[in-house]
């Protein structure tokens, strides 16, 4: 009896294509280590008009089709946003009062801030991007530089400039997964280490007797006391000494159209 021999061609072809893929990956990694800046600049130069055009068309389509939505659903959404906006306004006012007092103290101590603010439009934002990153339409031509602080409003500090290009910049949010930083929480304003969890959220391990409750503000250390977020949930476990406090950025990403960058000191 004759049996057909197994074909080795298929196995070799798969091995060959995998080897080629691995070689391509290694070459791309080396390329990114050497030419990262130039390649990023080219990509952002191509992307800038596409992102602006995409935002323009999205707004146009949204405004054209809004009339077709169920009017009840629309009015419910408007009410929800109005309630949220009222809550933010109250928080903003509380923070403004505190910041005015801090400014008075700074003036007395001769340390008044002389920083300038640049307003930038948001080109791309989560969840369109899988990371806690923002792309903004202001770059080095507008005085934007690495490390400058980015605010969502007067009070809420959300991240820092991580990369700049002539007309655009990348913002790294503090809530990026794994990102560690210090915040002050609770009535005693104790400093804790916060760890980013992604999606505009970060967590803090605090002792159970810290008496942190939902709605408390998490502030960055320092005289300015910029706000990092609002406590959204406290996970208590009587068996544990520490409780897990989840702090969320109060403004939904979908409502973020503009950001403010502080330049100078």
């Amino acid at each position: 009896m004759n049996y057909l021999l197994k074909s080795r061609e298929k196995k070799d072809s798969v091995r060959k294509s995998i080897s080629v893929a691995v070689i391509i990956t290694v070459i791309l990694i080396l390329f990114s280590l050497i030419f990262r800046n130039i390649t990023s600049r080219i990509l952002f130069a191509i992307g800038d008009p596409l992102w602006n055009g995409n935002n323009f068309i999205s707004k146009l389509i949204r405004s054209s089709f809004e009339g077709f939505f169920n009017s009840v659903e629309l009015s419910n959404r408007i009410m929800t946003y109005e309630v949220k906006e009222a809550e933010w306004n109250v928080k903003d006012q509380e923070i403004s009062v505190l910041q005015n007092r801090i400014s008075e103290m700074e003036n007395i101590m001769n340390r008044a801030s002389t920083s300038k603010v640049v307003i930038a439009g948001v080109l791309k934002i989560p969840p369109a991007i899988p990371f806690d990153t923002l792309l903004i339409d202001a770059g080095s031509k507008n005085g934007i530089a690495f490390g400058q602080k980015v605010y969502a409003s007067q009070a809420f500090l959300m991240g820092e400039i991580s990369e700049t290009f002539p007309d655009t910049a990348k913002v790294k949010l503090y809530s990026t997964s794994g990102e560690k930083f210090q915040v002050r929480l609770g009535a005693s304003s104790t400093t804790y280490e916060a760890v980013g969890r992604g999606g505009g959220e970060f967590s803090v391990s605090a002792p159970r007797d810290a008496k942190i409750k939902v709605g408390d503000l998490a502030l960055f250390p320092g005289l300015g006391g910029d706000t990092a977020g609002v406590v959204a949930y406290v996970e208590e476990d009587p068996a544990k000494i520490f409780e897990e406090v989840y702090v969320r950025f109060p403004i939904p990403f979908s409502l973020l159209d503009t950001v403010f960058i502080k330049i100078g000191y």
Binding site: V14, T25, S32, T39, L50, A128, I129, T133, K170, T176
Partner: protein
């Protein structure tokens, strides 16, 4: 070309789903590795090596898995 433009415009999940479908539809779809590479360049912020090349490695692993699956699926063996 369309996938390259979609990298800028479409949501990331749609881009990856389309890339995976294209990798299944076409043999030796090396473009998926380039898409992962460009995506990392544009959107990652991390300073660590693994995080800054996350989607490149993800694309490579996806490509390898799809190549192995294509060998085993009857649909592809019959087409050859």
């Amino acid at each position: 070309m369309l996938l390259f433009i979609a990298m800028f415009i479409s949501p990331w999940w749609l881009l990856f789903a389309t890339s995976i479908l294209c990798a299944f539809a076409f043999r030796k779809f090396y473009e998926i590795i380039f898409i992962g590479f460009f995506f990392d360049l544009m959107y990652t912020n991390s300073s660590s090596f693994l995080h800054s090349h996350f989607f490149l490695f993800y694309a490579l692993i996806t490509f390898v898995i799809i190549q192995i699956l294509q060998k085993r699926l009857t649909f592809y063996t019959r087409m050859r």
